[in-house]
């Protein structure tokens, strides 16, 4: 159509537009509107292609025949009704067509509508249409839009009318007929017609099943109807059912719809509309509309299908009601005639319409009464019955409102009976008018039981509750209400699943679970606790009727005082138990004794751990050498490090402050600490550290640990003392055992209590022999004849407390031999200064004495026996040299002189050795007299003058003054001077002088012998006065001498009470000085 003659000018264009608008006003359907529009555009723009795209449902219909390729495909699926013009132009179909037509420019004109656009007129052209053309086309499209809008409105109005008509038809069918199948037929036929579908079916769900089958259908094959069974439990179905509203399926063949896809495909069904039929929210049926062409059901159609479904639901309900009514009427008729219970039926005007025999009897009714208007009061007034009128009235009102009510009727008389009247609503034949049905049951036995029960209820002190079959409270007594603080009406409430779930009540067992179990046939007792601290014992058991639990009975008792008492008793018992444990723990600790500290510590650790319920226990002791707290023992695998006293640790803190220290907060290892100093008297020995994760340590724990620490302190101190004492004892015992000195310890009575091996050796007494015997009998002193026995040393020691040092005493041994000993005695005092015993140390000096004697004899013998031959040599030689036996040659004289000199040296040496021996044995004895030293010096000078002269040495005596006498042994003083002067000559340089000088210094006379010789080196000075301290100097060989001279001199001087010393200068000479005491008085006396 687009290829018609072009509108060449403006007037043509105007004419074309006018024609088009006129045409549009005459259109009678949406299709013609679109046709007219596209035709008009084709006329206006002959070189363009135009086509209309309009929405139908969720699709776009393409109407123009030029767009054959699109039309063949039928529909485009662009459900979005809000596509913009630009979006329209870019649709792939549109742009694809532009390529095919060779008209690349696409212009779209919206077909406007409310609320969304209806579609678009698409224009394909080689070049961009002119503005005028665009404006004209837009005007035509706008008019077309309006026209379409009007059709749309008309259509919806028509549809509404159709719907209304349909609903009317179906409603009439439903209300006008009791035949369910007729109604279904009408419904389906009407629906098929309305929805223009190929088939409509009603699926029904038989009661108590989860499947649906087709009940009736129109337009479906019999095979299909038979084959379809919908499983309502399948996921897709249950999902559909859960929607509770109609659902349309555009492509039913797609996917496995309702698990029936094969059947659906076989039947050629493309689209479906499924409307659920529900009664009270329960899916009982479904209405399905099936189309063999693919179509989209509009929301309006979906909605309407819902209305139809509701109609169907009404029909089904009615049908059911009818069925049940019919059977009920039959049942009622039978029941009425056979029941023992009384039955009365009133119509809506309180007219008695029925009364059976038991009712007649009870209320004294006759057949005349039927048809009479009778109020409840009228009935109550009949003879012999008692009823609560007020309550009866209320129940009647309730019954008329549709609720069932009961009331008890009592008939007095000989045969006293109770009846229960049940008032229920009774539907009369007249619509909307409600009558009343009263059924009367003889409940006398039950009532009597109830009376008993009531009596029990009111008489028992416990709370009592009875539950009905469904767990509702049927009855309960006041106590029950009180116990559970229940107020108001409780009947009809579930106690265990409602009332017991209050926040102020807690149950030991979940109440819901409990009651389930009770209804399962079990009895239970549990405990409830109120917020106010009450404890309620709750016993629940089932009530059986015919082997089935038809109710439950519960009793409750306030056991708060009992619980409190029990708790209190338990607490006390636990406390007592704990105290007992602690006490026994402490007692056990006290029983740990001994001196193996490590062992004790380990025992302590485990006890403390139990006593204080600690995870870890450590014993720290202070080491004064390290000045640290050292962990002696620990329950830890690895002992904690030693701690300095300045540490911030709890242990150091407790030690320094001497107080227990407990941590309030756990440390990084989540442990609480308690450190307790271990104090003995005023001395802190260490710290006990306990640790635990459970909770902080209490004051009680601290008290307990302090007790333990005190006990431990004593043990530690005792052990330390023990070890000290032991070590001392061991040392002492070693001395006691191994010393050469005999040690004898005696008690206050003088009995031997200690006796060492050396003592046994000395005395000859066995140790076992000596012990307990009197000291004097064991250490037997020999008193020389004529000497009196002084006071016993034991008396002096034990009574006077004297110490007796080294006294020589001869003892007689057990064998009778006598030995010399040296004995010392000492008392032994205790701490209070009392003498408890004494000790004697005995040294065997017998051998010393013998040695001494031998030595002494030896010296005498040696001296005598050596001297005798030397004397002979000396004597004969002296005579030979004096020519007593004739003349000698010079040589003979010379050599014999040498022999003489050598012999003399030997004599001197023997002399010196003897002197040394005497000096050393202390046997030298001096005859001290006031002596004039000058005379002796003169003698010495005279004696040695010749010798000096031979060496060109002059001996010079310096005379200063008259010298005082000195206290000396003349012979020895001579010996001293001779020695010193002789030495001086020996070591003098030839041609020098030896000077002798005497000087009074204080009360001493200092004599100096000075030489001018080689002098003495400092090293030599030290050895000078020692034995054989001979000085090896250039002249020493010729000097001769024994090397004993100065040693003897020094000892002689010192034996005089004097001193000797030397000063020397090497190469210049030496000065020997000795000082002797001056004899002051004696000269005067002389």
């Amino acid at each position: 159509m687009s290829l018609s003659e072009p509108a060449t000018n403006q007037s043509d264009m105007l004419a074309a537009v006018t024609d088009a608008l006129l045409e549009l006003s005459k259109t009678d359907s949406p299709t013609t509107v679109l046709d007219v529009t596209t035709t008009a555009i084709a006329k206006l723009a002959p070189d363009c292609f135009a086509s209309a795209f309009t929405y139908t449902g969720s699709h776009v219909d393409v109407t123009d025949e030029h767009t054959i390729s699109l039309a063949r495909r039928g529909r485009l699926t662009y459900p979005d009704r809000k596509l913009t013009i630009a979006a329209w132009c870019k649709l792939p179909e549109v742009t694809g067509l532009a390529a095919q037509l060779g008209a690349p420019i696409v212009t779209a004109f919206p077909l406007k509508g409310r609320p969304e656009i209806r579609g678009a007129i698409i224009l394909w052209s080689a070049s961009k249409p002119s503005r005028e053309l665009s404006a004209v086309i837009a005007a035509i499209v706008n008019t077309a839009s309006e026209r379409l809008g009007r059709f749309s409105l008309e259509m919806s109005v028509a549809s509404s009318i159709a719907q209304t008509l349909l609903l009317q038809t179906t409603t009439q069918a439903i209300s006008g007929s009791l035949n369910f199948d007729d109604i279904v037929d009408t419904l389906i036929a009407q629906a098929k017609k309305f929805f223009h579908v190929d088939a409509v079916s009603l699926l029904m769900r038989p009661d108590g099943t989860d499947t649906m089958t087709i009940y009736h259908s129109l337009g479906l094959s019999k095979e299909y109807v038979k084959a379809v069974t919908i499983d309502l439990t399948s996921p897709t179905t249950s999902k559909l059912a859960a929607e509770h509203k109609p659902v349309s399926i555009t492509d039913a063949s797609h996917g496995n719809f309702l698990n029936q896809s094969k059947i659906i495909a076989d039947e050629g069904i493309r689209s479906m509309l499924v409307a659920p039929v529900e009664i009270d929210g329960e899916l009982i049926a479904a209405l399905t509309m099936c189309s063999k062409i693919t179509r989209q059901f509009t929301p309006a159609e979906e909605h309407f299908s819902g209305s139809l479904a509701s109609q169907a639901a009404t029909a089904i309900t009615n049908a059911r009601l009818h069925t049940s009514l019919v059977s009920a009427a039959r049942d009622v008729e039978q029941t009425r005639n056979h029941m023992e219970d009384g039955l009365l039926i009133f119509d809506h005007e309180d007219r008695l319409t029925y009364s059976n025999k038991p009712a007649d009897k009870l209320f004294n009714l006759t057949s005349k009464d039927v048809g009479r208007i009778m109020r409840v009061t009228t009935l109550a007034e009949s003879g012999g019955i008692t009823v609560n009128i007020e309550k009866a009235r209320a129940i009647v009102a309730l019954a008329r409102a549709g609720q069932t009510g009961r009331i008890t009727i009592e008939r007095a008389g000989e045969d006293h009976r109770y009846y229960e009247a049940l008032f229920t609503d009774y539907a009369t034949d007249i619509p909307g008018a409600h009558g009343l049905m009263v059924s009367i049951r003889d409940i006398t036995p039950m009532y009597l039981e109830k009376e008993k029960l009531a009596a029990i209820q009111s008489n028992i002190l416990d709370g009592l509750m009875i539950l009905d079959e469904n767990g509702f409270i049927e009855d309960c007594n006041e106590e029950w209400l009180r116990l559970f603080s229940l107020k108001g009406e409780v009947h009809g409430h579930r106690f265990f699943s409602e009332l017991a779930l209050r926040p102020d009540l807690t149950f030991d067992r979940d109440p819901t679970e409990l009651i389930e179990s009770v209804f399962g046939g079990k009895r239970h007792t549990t405990y409830a606790h109120t917020a106010t601290g009450q404890h309620i014992q709750l016993s629940v058991g089932p009530i059986f009727t015919g082997g089935r639990a038809t109710g439950a009975i519960a009793t409750a008792r306030d056991i708060t005082p009992l619980v409190e008492k029990t708790v209190e008793a338990n607490e006390m018992a636990a406390k007592a138990q704990r105290h007992l444990r602690e006490l026994s723990g402490l007692a056990e600790l006290s029983s740990i004794v001994g001196f193996n500290v490590q062992n004790i510590y380990r025992k302590y650790l485990s006890k403390i751990s139990i006593l204080t319920r600690s995870d870890e226990v450590n014993i720290f002791l202070y080491d004064p050498n390290l000045q640290q707290l050292v962990c002696e023992e620990s329950t830890r695998d690895e002992k904690p490090d030693s701690l300095g006293l300045d540490s911030t640790n709890a242990v150091a803190h407790a030690f320094v402050s001497r107080r227990g220290f407990a941590s309030d907060e756990p440390d990084e290892s989540n442990l609480f600490h308690l450190a307790m100093p271990v104090v003995h008297h005023s001395k802190t020995l260490g710290v006990l550290l306990v640790e635990r994760a459970s909770q902080p340590y209490s004051d009680h724990d601290a008290k307990l640990l302090r007790l333990v620490a005190t006990r431990l302190a004593v043990l530690v101190e005792n052990a330390t003392l023990y070890h000290d004492v032991n070590a001392r004892r061991e040392r002492w015992e070693a001395v006691f055992r191994f010393t050469d000195e005999g040690i004898v310890i005696f008690d206050r009575r003088g009995a031997v209590v200690g006796f060492n091996p050396a003592a046994a050796e000395i005395t000859g007494h066995e140790i076992t022999d000596a012990i307990t015997r009197p000291f004097e009998r064991v250490v037997k002193a020999v008193v020389s004849e004529g000497r009196t026995l002084g006071p016993s040393p034991l008396v002096r020691v034990l009574t006077d407390g004297h110490t007796i040092a080294k006294t020589e005493q001869m003892l007689e041994t057990r064998m009778g031999t006598r030995i010399w000993t040296e004995i010392s005695y000492s008392p032994i005092f205790d701490d209070a200064g009392q003498i408890t015993s004494g000790i004697a140390l005995i040294r065997n000096v017998q051998r010393d004495r013998e040695v001494e004697a031998i030595k002494s004899d030896f010296i005498s013998i040696v001296s005598h026996e050596l001297r005798t031959p030397l004397t002979a040599i000396k004597g004969f030689l002296s005579m030979v040299l004096k020519h007593d036996f004739g003349e000698l040659t010079d040589k003979q004289f010379h050599y014999l002189s040498r022999v003489y000199q050598s012999n003399q040296r030997m004599i001197d040496l023997v002399e010196d050795l003897l002197d040394v021996s005497y000096i050393e044995s202390g046997k030298i004895s001096l005859t001290i007299n006031p002596v004039a030293i000058e005379a002796i010096i003169s003698e010495v000078v005279a004696e040695l003058g010749a010798k000096g002269a031979a060496s060109q040495i002059m001996i010079k005596l310096k005379r200063r003054q008259r010298l005082p006498l000195v206290l000396a042994d003349e012979t020895r003083l001579h010996q001293i001077l001779l020695n010193l002067v002789d030495n001086a000559i020996k070591y003098s340089t030839p041609g020098t002088q030896v000077e002798i000088d005497c000087q009074v210094v204080g009360d001493e006379l200092v004599t100096t012998v000075a030489d001018h010789g080689v002098g003495i080196t400092k090293n030599q000075l030290d050895r000078l006065f020692t034995k054989f301290g001979r000085i090896y100097n250039p002249m020493s060989v010729q000097a001769g001498g024994t090397g004993l001279g100065l040693y003897i001199v020094k000892n002689l001087v010192e034996n005089h009470g004097g001193r000797i010393w030397v000063t020397s200068q090497e190469g210049k000479g030496s000065k020997f000085k000795f000082a002797l005491p001056i004899a002051k008085q004696l000269p005067l006396l002389k």
Partner: protein, 135 residues
């Protein structure tokens, strides 16, 4: 010229002192132990006794005590000749003095010549005529 009793147990020393004293013109009578000495004194009256101390049988001090007991012998001067050490000499000196010893000589300290000199000195002191004559 004097009569001298030499009491000495060592034969060589006896020979030596005898030789010297005889050389000097004295008459020397010998006793080799204490008992010998006392026996000799029964028949021989010396003017001087040279008495050794350490001798077999009876030592010098015992001999001396015996001599001093007898009035006829008591006047005879005695020189103790010994080879005991100085210390022993010191110890015995008091005793010697108490017993009336005229001199106390350590043999090894003196040549026979010196002993003779000492003896002559003692003889002079005791009023020996011959010695005085000689002098």
């Amino acid at each position: 010229m004097a009569k001298i009793l030499l009491v000495e147990d060592d034969a060589i020393l006896v020979e030596m002192y005898q030789a010297k004293f005889e050389l000097e013109g004295h008459e020397v009578h010998i006793a080799t132990n204490g008992e010998d000495c006392l026996k000799a004194l029964e028949t021989f009256e010396p003017e001087l006794i040279l008495l050794d101390i350490l001798m077999p049988k009876l030592n010098g001090f015992h001999v001396l005590k015996e001599i001093k007991k007898q009035p006829e012998l008591r006047q005879i001067p005695v020189i103790l000749l010994t080879n005991l050490g100085q210390a022993e000499v010191d110890m015995n000196q008091e005793l010697a003095k108490a017993l009336g010893v005229n001199d106390y000589l350590i043999k090894s300290h003196h040549t026979p010549d010196e002993v003779v000199t000492k003896a002559v000195k003692v003889l002079k002191a005791s009023g020996h005529k011959a010695s005085q004559d000689e002098a």
